[in-house]
Amino acid sequence: MIYLDNAATTLHKPPQVEQAILEALHTAGNPGRGAHEPTLHAARIVLDTRLALAELFHAPDPSCIVFAANATMALNTVLNGVLHPGDHVITTVYEHNSVLRPLYRLRAQGVEVSFTGVDDAARLCYDQWETLLRPTTRALVVTGASNVTGNGTNLVRAADFAHRHGLLLIVDAAQTAGAQPIDVQQLGIDALCFTGHKALLGPQGTGGAYVRPGLQIAPLLVGGSGVHSFDETHPLQMPTVLEAGTLNVHGLAGLCAGVQWLLEQGVENLAAREAALARLFYEQVRTAPGVTVYGDMTMQHRAPIVALNIGQEDSARVADILWEDYGICVRAGAHCAPLMHKALGTAEQGVVRFSFSHFNTEQEVQQAAQAVCALTRELLCE
């Protein structure tokens, strides 16, 4: 099997991740709910995970890191926690439904939403931002990179625009956390939402957000906190304010091991390897007859994704043949990014997405490219 669906979930993790989860299953109690060794051990795992993520994102303090079940939950928390009826938001057609659907729901409650379009190479039209701006604009919400094409968002430009106009900068880092260096302080990001199971190399069910010190986010959930039990309201201090209920400590143990491994290896090194693998694949398939590749492969900061179609063939059929006949795992369809597909003109066909990991080998990439070329010859002769 050749696994090239890393933009959905990374399958290959460092062995330390599995070991940490297993160890936590045997040793971790409920964090912050007592002072015996298993509960303290769990709380230490949570602290170490916060510290590792704070180091990775260059956050000033571990209290800036809050945990959630995934990026979707973190994005719902942040968007619902800072936006109010009458506010206006600028976002992009790159966005995943984890951003779009919370914004659509907020729109039904009186929040106004504008979308940044793309050019012929599916690059964001940053010049539109000035024209989309209104007196009520409160936030710029952008993904770090499109999960369909891999095209990146220029976060320096986003930060400059947001800061010049006093907007909150909210970043969906589902595709970029752990895959690209991110310095939240240098960029001046207000909230960065991440998932644990992609490039951060943790298990599913982990994720969270960096929240800039001083940014007040009304909690999505309230409940058990382990402190101030007789208060009728949830504690307001970070990170407790955004972490009602027992955390997924076993998952966080794995996430912590994954992030610590990333810090040891260096995100820049791993990103360069992934970019080289994506480039190798692209160079071998781009000239195959009938192949259309979407996105700008010359971009410096992009996710290691190559999205393509073969003629007018249904992307679902191509992905299924790649799995059935070649043992290659890719993702077809809409990738929960409907506006991106509408902009690409692929709403019906979908695209076949190949997404690479630093754990992939050049041999795997070459095999996948050969499979695409063979399939192209076969399908175009039908």
């Binding site: 709380a43 602290l47 039990s229």
Partner: protein, 76 residues
Amino acid sequence: MRIKRSYIVLSFRTTLEAMEWEKQCHVRQVPGRLIPLPREISAGCGLAWRMLPEDWQSWQAELDETRFDKVTPVEQ
């Protein structure tokens, strides 16, 4: 019968603050340990750092008082 003795208890604003405190204390070999928050300090639940009064006397000047909330003498 268990004999009570005097302790100094440091309480915190959050569980995170308590865990950061413990980590620092382990590194610096500050004596004491985390305990359930005594009811003299606050009803409910939470964590506190308990140490002997003589250890508190020895370490007080070196400990960063911004890292904890309150100092309370207790009998336990």
